[in-house]
Amino acid sequence: MKYFAIIVFSISTILANAQNGSDHGLEIANNADLADNGFESSEVKLKMILRNKQGQESTRLLETKTLELVEDGDKSLIVFNSPRDVKGTATLTFTHKQGSDDQWLYLPAVNRVKRISSDNKSGPFMGSEFAYEDLSSQEIEKYSYRFVKNEQYEGHNCAVVAQDPVDPKSGYTKRLVWYNLDEDYRLEKIEFYDRKDVLLKTLTYSDYQLYLGKHWRAGTFQMVNHQTDKQTTLIFEDYAFKTGLNAEDFSQNSLKRAGR
């Protein structure tokens, strides 16, 4: 009976801890989300450098526009500027907090707008080490959270939170995310674990800059695939916030205009 009581006690402690871990993990993610609230809209130029195992590089240039929404997920427009054969190709994405995102693709050679399936979460974006899900708008509702530990990372106090994707089509069982507790919960590192729960990729953020006294943006994203030894670097340039974009700038007409 005594043992039974101990067992019950232990189980409830574990459960309570798990509950706390989940609450605390969610709290951190919420704080991070809150800390970046209110950018309204942003525009940025992006250089993507793909590097294979042998160190050969190829470069892509993109431009993205984002419209912050509170009730629903953000809207974004991405335009490809290079390689030249895909120049003018553009995508329009309406992220939703629940359910599938809406996505349209513009093909400049035939002036055609196509609604495409947003089901492909885990596939590579433009042949890079970034999956579509790594680059889509990070909505709180898309993961469940578990606080793991606090630790020092690169001289900062960080909280490590495990995030399990809600969507079964995700390519990951979990992500481990390092939130910087000294600098408004900005992200420092993410480890991605594949479907077999083996470490697949590590994303590190660097060259942080503070915009409008509130919004931390990393100038460099470095993604390393541990299973293939391939790497992709994203370099962000000319960040602009509160650029006056509105819903009309994220229509199919504006998708066609952004392409060409």
């Binding site: 290079s82 390689p83 030249r84 120049k87 002036n111 089901d119 885990s122 596939g123 007409n253 060409r260």
Partner: protein
């Protein structure tokens, strides 16, 4: 280049110049003028597996294509001038050697309104094996048998965004006529057809004005478009008597509907038209689906399966030859650094009057080159089919493109 093309160029040129005069002060006032110049040059060879049916036809057609583009943008892209020209030189077929103004327009955006004037390309529709609803631009016939390439269309376009969808209005003052292959060209009828011998069924000829309206919207997973076109039909009406082909562009009214339901990896597609002309009225539809297995075995490969059914009440007179056919296709996207992709498919006539096979693939080489392969194969085409004239025209095309 024909006289008609020159005339339309000069008339539209006047309108464009007026816009230039009006736009120029704004242009100077804005310091942030963005220029964008690009050039694509492609070298291709079409190899036909068999000798042609007609004397003068060759087996190999070497050809060069040049496409310069200039974009000028100011006021954060709310004002724009876009120029895209196309020039094709063909070693054998002098009719395939041609020039076209694909785009030459001024565009202005005022909040929910978008206005354009000049030559533009407009695409409507959702299905892959047939483009029934798509009607604004004339087909650039010598460019490809499949009719995917279009000639620039002079127009005035107004587009209004509302919370009830997007409304587009088009005024099309002039209709370019199709070019047909020359005597040395492939994909031709027994006798040569002169572009200007195919008349428009009106005294105004190509200047008979056309109008179009389109409403498009999306509701969650559903994208819908409803359109109406009145004016010069883009497709000539062919009559075949004793191997003699005569043709005319009728004045038509066409109502079209296109619909897509996007449900997870599955796309459901529908296009339907009803076209009315004095000599002919008909309905046609394409209904299909596309299912994509994405990132197969975490390799990055996407495999898309396509199935479409095509119906045309014109039966054997359908220009597309897709009157009661099933199209089955597979699309591979490797999502690699070179953006390798392949689309292969076959259209099977359910009345047993022939099979058509097509395949096209491409791969980038380095940063600025691209290699493409394309093949079209006709098999067992029956005598009463329009494509019977092309039964020996199966080919393989190899293309190398350089982007500047």
């Amino acid at each position: 280049m024909t006289m008609n093309r020159t005339t339309v160029w000069s008339r539209s040129g006047v309108v464009l110049c007026l816009f230039w005069l009006w736009a120029t002060p704004t242009l100077q006032a804005q310091s942030t003028l963005e220029k964008d110049l690009q050039l694509e040059i492609e070298l291709e060879n079409r190899f036909f597996f068999k000798e042609g049916l007609h004397p003068g036809q060759e087996r190999n057609y070497l050809s060069l294509g040049i496409q310069p583009e200039l974009g000028l943008e100011w006021k954060n892209g709310d004002r724009r001038i876009q120029v895209s020209l196309f020039f094709r030189w063909d070693q054998q077929d002098n009719r395939r050697t041609h020039f076209d103004i694909r785009e030459l327009y001024y565009q202005q955006v005022n909040d929910k309104w978008e206005w354009s004037i000049g030559f533009k390309k407009i695409f409507w529709g959702v299905t892959e094996s047939a483009h029934l609803v798509d009607i604004i631009n004339q087909t650039d016939q010598p460019e490809g048998f499949d009719g995917e390439q279009k000639l620039g269309q002079p127009m005035f376009q107004a587009s209004l965004l509302t919370n009830k969808g997007t409304f587009d209005f088009f005024y099309l003052p002039y209709t370019p006529r199709r070019q047909f292959p020359g005597s040395a060209g492939r994909f031709r009828f027994p006798q040569e057809i002169e572009r200007n011998d195919v008349s428009v069924d009106s005294d105004l000829k190509s200047w008979y004005p056309s109008f179009a309206l389109r409403w498009s919207h999306y509701f969650g997973p559903v994208d819908v478009g409803v359109s109406n076109f009145y004016g010069v039909g883009r497709e000539p009406l062919f009559k075949v008597d004793n191997q003699q082909v005569t043709a005319v562009y009728p004045i038509i009214n066409q109502t079209g509907v296109d619909l897509q339901l996007t449900s997870g990896p599955m796309l459901w597609k529908f296009e339907g038209i009803y076209r009315y002309a004095d000599f002919q009225d008909f309905t046609a539809m394409a209904v299909g689906l596309e299912y994509t297995f994405s990132n197969v075995a975490a390799s990055g490969l996407d495999i898309g399966l396509l199935g479409e059914y095509l119906f045309d009440s014109r039966d054997d007179q359908a220009l597309s030859n897709l009157n009661n056919d099933v199209f089955l296709g597979v699309r591979l996207a490797f999502n690699d650094t070179q953006s390798s992709e392949l689309l292969a498919g076959t259209a099977i006539d359910l009345d047993g009057k022939g099979i058509f096979i097509s395949a096209e693939g491409s791969r980038r080489i380095g940063d600025n080159w691209k290699m493409s392969l394309e093949s079209r194969i006709f098999s067992g085409i029956e005598e009463d089919q329009l494509a019977f004239f092309f039964r020996e025209d199966s080919f393989l095309l190899l293309k190398l493109s350089k982007f500047f």
